[in-house]
Symmetry: C2
Subunit: 595 residues, 2 copies
């Protein structure tokens, strides 16, 4: 059976030594009192909950899965409901929520690593609070005061859970085609009819009510994405005092059989004149939903980061324990019949690839969490704007780069186990199956790449990208003169120059032919991903070199991992740049009939 | 539900137009009468069997899986047994077997594409005849005349099936550690005791008897791989006339729950004084088993090729049918609410990546099948030697390069389906789960890479590799002067030079430090894989250019796919060479405790 230990030391290193979270947060009035001790303490407690309560439910939850009991009723795997009760009792749903609504008001810099641990422990389970928090975000920003008062405290406390109901059978990526209809009623409510699919956490037995956020069209709505409105459709209609009234006409018709995340219910949801209340204005539903979507995209990155960490831990333990064959350079344990497989260079490649992507992505994610805190609460408008630009630019990168890498690294973790990796009881293949959805939902990774290149980079002529590039330049300027930093700074600087040139080149080509952007986008996102990771591995090297004299092996490991990253992973950019520059012709020249 | 159409046109193109199979086979006395019509007819009939009988059992077979009924009894999914009966009746198991033993004596050039189709239709099912054929190969080469007379006709006819029993819980890659014991008996038989795991097709209800080939140690055997012997251990002991006698002491203790190939029974096999008969000499078991293993490794490549083809077909159909959003260059179906997703550059990238790897690998595999036919039956010893060298050199490449690519391409096929790809009823995620085992069994892909670089390339100072290189040079010489071939020949020639240099460099470094080979091996195998595919795509371009004037779109598609391969896939070699040259330090410098 797999094991999990929360990576508290790495959180501490990243938050305190690399990113200096405490002083960053001290600039934000509402987080001024958040100090190192508080951060460590919350993460330690959170880690215990994840490792002790959620993690033991993960394998069985996968085997048992959610069950459709008929008549709209879905049961979650054994223990899920009880864990939810403990989660609520301990106040975990309230962690980063508004104190005025019953939340603890802690920063994303705590919320994001907690999300990682939830997902290391149990992605399927963690999706229930994840979507609930998304509904909270959306209503908090776009709800009326009455809606906020009625729904938010219950979502914060975890008494009720949330969903996002977007997809229909004929439209996922292209929401402009959606057909669900909302008929206005004299009392200001709407009656909504339609069928939604792929609704995660759409029905379950863990909470007394489920607040669905549903996209639908008004009778007079314009065609396409400009005619979509957003509605609150509760499972049970709530009275003003929060008590439950009648059962609404929204029902789970069935749940899907899937490749993974079996413990989360993926529902077909029928709305048959279900009563709903509009959020935000008519035809402004997609914009409102995007609040939820952007948070969800970062959340999906954290889902994968969680899986990467736990898969790495287990493959590392196996590589140290499993003895098989001898080292190529001669026996390392001559008294035993074989050496542990970690002596083999390729096993180390598989481990270090996981380690470099996991820890690099975690640095990136925690830095972005601090940007989110600044964007949300910094008193200086310029700081808020800059932080928000970073968040806007890099959200698709967190989502796609981490989930692509995470699918690759969970596969490496499984491969370390040889034949045992393919057997369910060892738990490794579940991580692969669970990780696979993350490349698809909340916008496929190709959609993320179009969002990055088209909307986030080319639309403002690279202004946001240059802001990130300025951080890179500052680092190069500060550290470029030191010999011991050359192995880290040189490839970063080289890539920075190439990113600048490539962006200009694609921008020019895309002006003549938009397919040029479409053809380069996926490669481009991976290049930016490496650009970001190169920056954080170089920054990590700065800190690790400064601490090397302490003799603490933690810093030596960071240095060795940084070296591995630049020697073995970052060279992928050579291929990616060549492929991105190949242009659209190799893709578009072939007529459809020739495929 | 997925669909499958046997790729007969591509088989015909490759066998007749690209490889001129008929004239190649005409040099081999036993295949002198095999002509184009016969090849096409057998593959057409074989394709019908696969598409009509096996393919419809694939999805349900995955859902139902094999079941352990207790007391050693395993039931296969509904329809598997009946399909086996039809397979036998139609004589398909006899296809490439020796006519003296009831076989049809047809060449591998027919057997290999038939294998591909079996696996497109149903990999889990195809493993039963696959392992049976492996047992046939092994006994035909190493069995005594009595053993051959007793077992081979029944294996050829499909009345009995076969297995290979190698792995034990504590040893897979390192068979030198195996512990199963064989006690010699006065009658010349052995009593074998031990437990084997991961035995594919190890128990089932499809045939009346199962012939296990079991590795075990004699009481006085030397330690390690030099002390392993091979034994025939039938489920039912056979009388000399082939009738069944008593039940032998070999039993299935349980079957594994796995990620995929649920329709194939992966068994834990207990031997409790089971009666066996030695094959080949004492302590020579591993060499004898390697006959089976080498055929099995090519077979695993064909398993994946089959999955690649069927996954591609389905993702292509979906990409043409599914309408969602508009082309970046403006509506292509202005009268409909959206365009088919094949208008998007990245969807085309996902399709063309599949197409280029699938068709390129098929060219490689069919060429290798012809090498196998030459190695097996050509009258000229030098020709046999050359062909055998190609087979020896490239078996690990067929196994690892195709299965790595196939896992990637089945994932792309699934990705084309968006959210539907993750849902079981669409069938795409099964291809991913089934394909995943192929990177692991019959020697993990890392083991293949060590076999290639260490045993096949460096051990003879690159002699076999140069033989393949000579074929490449011949092509470059013949076609390098033609302008229209430059886009294909130049990158091939460039890579040929780099392969030569890199091989020398690694060879030199490995002499000083064997870990240098271990560190470079996985990258090296992929580089050789691209070298091989570059050669076959360039040869394909020659034929397609010559036929372009016919106006047949088939040749235009081949040209476009070759262009895509060289523009978008072959550039991976730039990264691989850089990574291979990075050496062992980035992998080995980190102390075990630092991980």
């Amino acid at each position: 059976m797999p094991q999990y230990t929360p990576p508290l030391r790495d959180f501490q290193f990243l938050l305190h030594e690399l990113l200096d979270a405490q002083s960053q947060l001290s600039e934000i009035p509402r987080h001024a009192e958040v100090n190192r001790e508080l951060i460590d303490q919350v993460l330690e407690e959170g880690g215990k909950f994840c490792a002790d309560i959620l993690f033991p439910l993960n394998r069985e939850g996968d085997e048992e899965g959610c069950r459709y009991a008929g008549d709209g009723v879905v049961t979650t795997p054994k223990g899920f409901k009880e864990a939810w009760e403990q989660f609520k009792q301990a106040g975990w749903p309230t962690l980063t929520c508004d104190p005025d609504l019953g939340g603890q008001g802690l920063p994303f810099a705590i919320g994001i690593p907690f999300q990682e641990m939830l997902n290391s422990a149990n992605q399927a389970w963690a999706m229930y609070p994840g979507l609930t928090h998304g509904a909270y975000d959306c209503l908090r920003e776009h709800g009326t005061p009455e809606q906020k008062a009625l729904y938010l405290p219950k979502l914060v406390s975890g008494e009720w859970t949330g969903t996002m109901c977007l997809t229909e059978a004929h439209c996922g990526t292209d929401l402009g085609m959606l057909r669900s209809r909302a008929e206005p009623q004299p009392d200001g409510s709407y009656l909504i009819t339609g069928t939604k699919i792929f609704i995660s956490s759409g029905e379950h037995d863990m909470a007394e009510n489920i607040i669905h956020l549903v996209l639908a069209r008004l009778p007079d709505a314009p065609q396409g994405t400009k005619g979509i409105s957003l509605f609150i459709v509760p499972k049970f209609i709530a009275h003003a005092d929060g008590s439950l009234g009648e059962r609404n006409g929204i029902r789970c018709a069935r749940i899907e059989e899937k490749m993974g995340i079996h413990g989360n219910s993926t529902c077909v949801i029928d709305l048959d004149g279900a009563r709903g209340w509009m959020v935000s204005g008519p035809n402004r539903g997609l914009q409102a939903m995007f609040v939820m979507m952007n948070a969800a995209r970062i959340g999906v990155g954290m889902q994968t980061l969680g899986l990467m960490e736990v898969a790495y831990q287990n493959s590392l333990a196996y590589a140290k324990e499993r003895t098989q064959s001898r080292a190529l350079t001669g026996p390392k344990q001559p008294d035993k019949p074989a050496d542990p497989i970690i002596v083999h260079p390729d096993v180390r490649r598989m481990l270090l690839t996981q380690k470099a992507y996991t820890e690099g992505s975690r640095a990136f994610a925690l830095w972005l969490a601090l940007q989110a805190d600044r964007a949300d609460g910094h008193p200086d408008e310029d700081v808020r704007k800059d932080a928000n630009d970073m968040l806007t630019l890099l959200t698709p990168v967190v989502k796609a780069f981490i989930t692509d890498n995470g699918f690759a690294t969970t596969n490496l973790a499984m491969q370390v186990f040889g034949g045992h990796g393919y057997i369910r009881e060892w738990g490794m293949e579940q991580y692969v199956r669970d990780a696979r959805i993350n490349m698809i939902y909340e916008g496929t990774n190709a959609i993320q790449s179009l969002d990055l290149l088209g909307r986030k980079v080319l639309q403002d002529n690279g202004a946001k990208l240059r802001k990130f590039g300025d951080l890179v330049k500052d680092l190069i300027e500060a550290e470029g003169h030191r010999d011991e930093m050359a192995e880290f700074i040189n490839p970063l600087a080289d890539l920075a120059g190439k990113v600048e040139k490539l962006t200009m080149e694609i921008g020019m080509k895309a002006m003549r032919n938009p397919d040029e952007a479409g053809a380069a986008a996926v490669d481009y996102l991976r290049i930016i991903g490496h650009f970001v990771l190169s920056y954080f591995w170089a920054r990590t090297a700065v800190v690790a070199l400064a601490r090397a004299a302490t003799g603490d092996p933690f810093y030596q490991a960071k240095l060795a991992t940084a070296r591995f990253y630049f020697a073995k992973l970052q060279p992928e950019t050579a291929m990616l740049i060549r492929s991105a520059r190949a242009g659209s012709a190799p893709l578009m020249d072939m007529a459809v009939e020739l495929f």
